[in-house]
């Protein structure tokens, strides 16, 4: 009898474990969600498989929901954003849409009262503890948190070819002054010290120079209005930027190069360094088949060690989403460890969560592992060029400030134009 009871008890115990282990997914699988879910993004082509992985996960969890994947192709979402605006204006918002985390969302849709506050979801899912504080600050205003970050890319990385750097007998510079010191040596050797591509990569370089010169606090101060934009330090940013450009292929043939072609020059040794976001790691390891750390080297761009200039793709919940419950289920998946570890290895980025499976070499290569290690400890600041730090108006017109500087070479004129843009766009606090 007691034996029987024991076996029954152990059976029940095992059952409990099995149910417990399966508990979470099964509980979700038998959810009562149905109907449709339309997600709007610009992920296609190379980035398509990563999105597909997320969609597959979602379908598994919510088999009764028909997921509509509305993609508008086009680099960094220029076309998608235009279509989104038309849809929102026409009163037909998608259930959830992709947007660069930070001011690109806040400065456009949050100020227009078109987004729902997601604080409740953050509390419910315990996300306050798993996303770094610096990131949550970038996603929030006083009134709430506005999107769920899926991935993290780093903007301030300088790439080089380790074998070549050894051959030239130089040290990888850690400040812009060191870079400018090594510049003539490289030029004498017939090497372009810094490779730059088309217009937006010049802006991309600027944000690394500004961050390296002003530091994290000074950089954040630009957007809160605390950094003196007529001050010595800010003029020095332009001054340094001008000198750095003089050490590059700027104005020579940069305008005809894509960012990949600029990287190619570093790989083949005709240029020494390149500052580009860490999607470059994906290009070099996947497309070019180089081993991180051996085929290509990486350091934080000069003067920015200990700071993580980040950009992130995120999804938000527009007011009036036709299938709100399904959209919340989608957002829950995006923020989950499972979702992030499914998406990021394919996208070539790191999870926004600090508890991602980032030490697993099957998922994340050496570069991504080092980026994830930095992500957990570094000071986090938002990228300007990629939508985190400033609103769309500022961002869209920023290239004209850069153009003004490169045409005139005058730091104070550039600062003045920067200030004017600050005031017309309202991007710099105040």
């Amino acid at each position: 009898m007691s034996k029987r009871l024991l076996s029954l008890g152990s059976f029940l115990f095992i059952l409990a474990i099995v149910v417990g282990a399966l508990g979470a997914p099964t509980a979700r699988a038998q959810d009562d969600l149905s109907g449709q879910l339309e997600i709007f993004s610009w992920w296609s082509g190379d980035e398509g498989p990563a999105l597909e992985a997320l969609i597959a996960l979602f379908n598994e969890q919510h088999p009764n929901v028909e997921l509509i994947n509305a993609t508008v192709a086009g680099g960094s979402g220029v076309n998608a954003r235009a279509v989104l605006k038309t849809r929102m204006e026409g009163g037909e918002p998608p259930d959830s849409f992709q947007v660069h985390a930070g001011q690109e969302l806040i400065g456009t849709w949050v100020v227009a009262d078109r987004m729902e506050d997601l604080s409740f979801l953050y509390e419910e899912q315990g996300w306050y503890d798993v996303f770094p504080e610096g990131l949550i600050d970038l996603l929030s205003t006083e009134d709430g948190i506005w999107s769920v970050p899926v991935n993290i890319h780093r903007s301030n990385v300088m790439w080089y070819n380790p074998a070549k750097v050894e051959e030239w007998g130089i040290e990888v510079p850690t400040t812009w002054d060191e870079f400018l010191a090594v510049c003539p040596t490289l030029q004498d050797a017939g090497v372009t010290p810094l490779a730059i591509g088309e217009a937006w990569t010049v802006n991309h370089l600027w944000e690394s120079v500004a961050l390296g010169t002003l530091g994290a606090e000074g950089w954040n101060g630009i957007w809160s209005g605390e950094t003196d934009l007529a001050g010595e330090d800010f003029l020095k940013v332009w001054d340094t930027f001008g000198k750095v450009l003089a050490c590059s292929n700027f104005g020579d043939d940069n305008a005809s190069l894509s960012w990949q072609q600029a990287i190619d020059r570093v790989v083949d040794g005709s240029a020494a360094f390149n500052v580009m976001g860490d999607w470059a790691a994906g290009y070099m390891s996947t497309t070019l088949g180089l081993v991180p750390g051996e085929g290509f080297g990486y350091v934080p761009s000069p003067g920015t060690a200990g700071t993580f200039l980040m950009l992130s793709d995120s999804f938000g919940l527009p007011v009036g989403a036709p299938n709100r419950d399904n959209a919340i289920a989608w957002l829950t998946l995006l923020g989950s460890k499972e979702g992030q570890d499914a998406f990021n290895p394919l996208k070539g980025s790191i999870p926004a969560r600090i508890d991602g499976d980032v030490t697993n070499p099957d998922l994340y290569n050496a570069y991504l592992q080092s980026a994830a290690a930095d992500w957990a400890v570094d000071t986090i600041v938002g990228s300007l060029v990629h939508g985190a730090a400033a609103n769309e108006n500022f961002n869209g017109n920023f290239s004209s400030v850069i153009d003004l500087f490169t045409a005139s070479g005058d730091p104070s004129a550039a600062s003045a134009a920067f200030v004017e843009l600050c005031s017309t766009s309202g991007a710099c606090g105040g």
């Binding site: 100020v111 088309e198 769309e392 108006n393 400030v401 003004l404 004017e420 017309t424």
Partner: protein, 379 residues
């Protein structure tokens, strides 16, 4: 000849297209005009919220385009359009006439050559732009042609990102040019109306009233404030002029359209009766004089049509420049590019103002043409 019924039927027949035109052309032009004097887009908090708020701001947007430091881009593109139109037109007319002249020599295989010259026109500007973009790369195409063919040093010319400028002027002097233009226009109008006495007093009165309105309403300061207040243009960007990088675009556009002009001219030349030429030759004209004194004068109406057609293409050119130089090229930009940029930065009011300026420029070309056409048709 016409009875009532005919007229009604005729009216009903054109009614659908009238309605469509009314909505999709004139209504939207009116709407753009309204946006261009509103503040739509400056502040996303009002521009994008449900039930958009737009406020009337007068000519502020135009004023910004002309005088603000951050909008030097518009002024570059305006100046670029001006130079582009002049050089593109000149190149097309000269080359087109030259090709027509060659084909008129009754050579063998004329039809083949005619087709070859006309073919580029069948491409869209986007395709032309992409091909020429490849050809004009700093280290490719045309620049390495001498090297490949003759083993010479490759050219170093920066077809699309040169910073060399000629015909440079300060934007402030543009004011004087503008006055000059207005004076010339008024003079042309005056001489024209002087020929038709019954109209002249009406026009002179109209211009007078217009000028009086402009000056009395303080309107002028709104339109051209920098003349009174040059400091407003804090931008040290003074490099207005013809940028050498525009040459690449002009070459590509000419490559595409010269064949078309050739076809126009050739048709015109063939339309001139052989007797006329014979008569001239009998009178002792050299072949050169036949072209100069007999054929060219006869081609005037065709040249005018060509100018109008090419002129309105060049004033609203966008796709070619977009494909060749991209959105963010510092020097090679035209107003159409700025409108696209406006969507990137939520500046619909400003984009509308740019659109209205373009519309105005194009109507300066088109309206007199249509007007004179209508008059000749009537008489």
């Amino acid at each position: 000849m016409y009875n009532r019924k005919d007229k009604t039927i005729a009216f009903l027949m054109i009614l659908p297209s009238l309605i469509l035109l009314g909505i999709f052309v004139y209504f939207f032009i009116a709407q753009t005009a309204w946006y261009s004097v509103s503040d739509w887009g400056v502040n996303p908090a009002t521009a994008l919220k449900k039930g958009v708020e737009k406020n009337y701001v007068g000519l502020d947007n135009y004023h910004t385009l002309i005088s603000s430091a951050s909008d030097y881009e518009f002024r570059i593109s305006f100046v670029n359009t001006f130079f582009f139109t002049i050089f593109f037109l000149a190149a097309c007319l000269i080359l087109g006439f030259f090709l027509a002249f060659l084909l008129d020599q009754r050579i063998k295989g004329e039809a083949v050559f005619r087709t070859i010259f006309l073919f580029p026109m069948s491409l869209s500007f986007i395709v032309t732009g992409t091909i020429w973009n490849w050809l004009l790369k700093p280290k490719g195409g045309l620049n390495i042609l001498p090297e490949k063919l003759f083993g010479l040093d490759p050219l170093k010319f920066k077809w699309l990102n040169s910073e060399t400028k000629v015909f440079k002027f300060e934007w402030m002097q543009g004011g004087n040019l503008f006055y000059l233009g207005v004076a010339l226009f008024a003079f042309a109008l005056f001489t024209y109306t002087a020929q038709k006495r019954h109209l002249s007093w009406f026009w002179i009165a109209l211009v007078g009233v217009g000028l009086w309105l402009i000056s009395s309403a303080g309107f002028w300061n709104k339109i051209w404030l920098p003349i009174d207040n040059p400091k407003l243009d804090i931008g040290t960007y003074t490099g207005y002029g013809y940028n050498a990088a525009l040459s690449g675009v002009i070459i590509a556009a000419t490559w595409q359209m010269a064949g078309y002009v050739m076809a126009l001219f050739l048709a015109g030349i063939r339309g001139i009766s052989e007797e006329l030429r014979e008569a001239a030759r009998v009178d002792g004209c050299s072949e050169w004089q036949v072209y100069l004194h007999i054929i060219l004068p006869q081609l005037r109406p065709i040249a005018l049509s060509a100018i109008i057609i090419l002129g309105h293409i060049s004033l609203k050119i966008f796709d070619l420049v977009y494909a060749m130089a991209g959105i963010d090229n510092r020097e090679v930009k035209v107003p159409g590019i700025l409108m696209l940029k406006g969507f990137r930065s939520n500046e619909w009011a400003r984009s509308s103002a740019v659109a209205m300026v373009m519309l105005f420029a194009i109507s300066l070309v088109i309206i007199p043409y249509l007007w004179s056409n209508l008059r000749t048709e009537k008489s």
